[in-house]
Symmetry: C2
Subunit: 339 residues, 2 copies
Amino acid sequence: MPIQTGNEEPLQTLINYLADDMKECNHIIMDRMQSSVPLVSQLAAHLIVAGGKRLRPLLSLASARLCGVKDNGHDHQIPRHVRLGACIEFLHTATLLHDDVVDESKLRRGAESANAVFGNSASVLVGDFLFSRAFQIMTEDGSLDVMRIISKASATIAEGEILQMTVQNDLSTSISRYFEVIHGKTAALFAASCRVGAIIANNSKESERALESYGTNLGMAFQLVDDALDYSATQEELGKTIGDDFREGKVTYPVLIAYKKSDADEKKFWKRVIEDGNQKEEDLENALKIIRKYDVIKDTLKEATIFANKATEALNIFPESELHTILKNIANYTVNRHF
Amino acid sequence: MPIQTGNEEPLQTLINYLADDMKECNHIIMDRMQSSVPLVSQLAAHLIVAGGKRLRPLLSLASARLCGVKDNGHDHQIPRHVRLGACIEFLHTATLLHDDVVDESKLRRGAESANAVFGNSASVLVGDFLFSRAFQIMTEDGSLDVMRIISKASATIAEGEILQMTVQNDLSTSISRYFEVIHGKTAALFAASCRVGAIIANNSKESERALESYGTNLGMAFQLVDDALDYSATQEELGKTIGDDFREGKVTYPVLIAYKKSDADEKKFWKRVIEDGNQKEEDLENALKIIRKYDVIKDTLKEATIFANKATEALNIFPESELHTILKNIANYTVNRHF
């Protein structure tokens, strides 16, 4: 059962709402990814210019606006929230470059991945460059609170990725361990992106906590859906190879639930393909058949919905506003998304 | 002509002089490389505990002491210079982990490299973790000046490594381009390590500049000697595979000078082995023969000596002291080192 066609409007509405901020943010992104070494800018451009919805900087900008951040007026300074949006996009891009090396991915955002075009070495090093640049931008901004949150998130992302590697191929991985993995690899940066928005707007600790909770839960929902899509979308919808997680032996939510519900013969199948990594061409089709048989995608989306609901609830402390509604809709939309 | 046996005492003298600081620094290193994900600490320990002379933190500590940094007395706080020494070691270790992935190295510090033992993916991600941890430590310290210098150095290191990759196999690389590469990959972090020592000690801009110059020139000398050793040391002396640079087609100073001095037949040889990467087993021996014929190692060490002399001169603004003498001796010793 493929996930139903989602309503893409909430994200587009957010993009429209923040069009001015994002225009400035994109300008900084293009400006600060330049380097005296041409390959750096070329490789960074491959991933950054080519696409991506800039979801994390959008969250950061939206959080800052929700907390009442003001423009600088006419002092020609780059607004702080806009600059930090660029910083977050650099950090995210750095992790994508390294992830694609780790996962040996060939596709990213519907195009050849940077490692496939420029090689692993260049991807590792340009990732390091963008990582450093992100910290340079934070230093220019000068908020120790922001740096503390982002550097911690950055360590958590690496730990999450390593934990994922540690449990790879292990069908005895618990659901709570899986949640720990996706919290690290995805939700931590969503949470940090939202939280620094509140900090920059000089808003209350309560707002910080609420937006951190929104980001965390949105990130969890987002990753659960991502893991569902790997077993339910078409390649065209996903913009990357279908069944990547399956081939890598990743123990995502759909696999763990399917394994749990499987009968003895099916369990043998999962052990062979995931634990022993012994896969034949028809195995993905068989995995999909089992996943459909036990309605596992529905279970996964149900779990994602719980997180999405927590995300929207976290926003209840903020007064009603257009942006408030858009952010709530984004959380609901995440569960129905097709990307 | 192998490099003559050096007098190892100056570095050992520095290690002894800073024994108390280094003991505390090592304690922080061990403490802060811990993670809830066991593989992180295991891999980090492989490289960090196993060895290394901690040259960069030593330089940072020495610079802080030279600039008169004081102990905290009995307030049980970790002294700032000690904490930043740990930060610099983490940053350096992160770059080593990534370099070994990029270079596909099998040996590091006389033992199997982390990527050889744990795989490339774990090395990339633990590098990212240590990188993040370094920035967490800087945030705790709270100096924006330190963060600005270290994050810039970190971007410069990545650019230097990428530039090196860009000029790989290219015998038309100019010497000034080579210097740009080694400034990025090595001298920038030496310079930053020394400079932040002065900042932490709250010393003058003049001291900052002097120590930055000392670090830069020491780093340049250090890397030139490193590049000479790859064509002159024994594997036992070097602690890594001999001829690595040659096999990778790196255009280091010895190769560029040897190529310049070579006759037509020898130039053909270099083009085949370095530019075309077409190497046979006996080619390293032949390369060494040409390098010996034209006394290229002597040229390289002469160039290194010029930088080492600039390093010692930079220290002239500081009054005579035991540490002052040790740091000058280290610069001279670098040219004669065997590591």
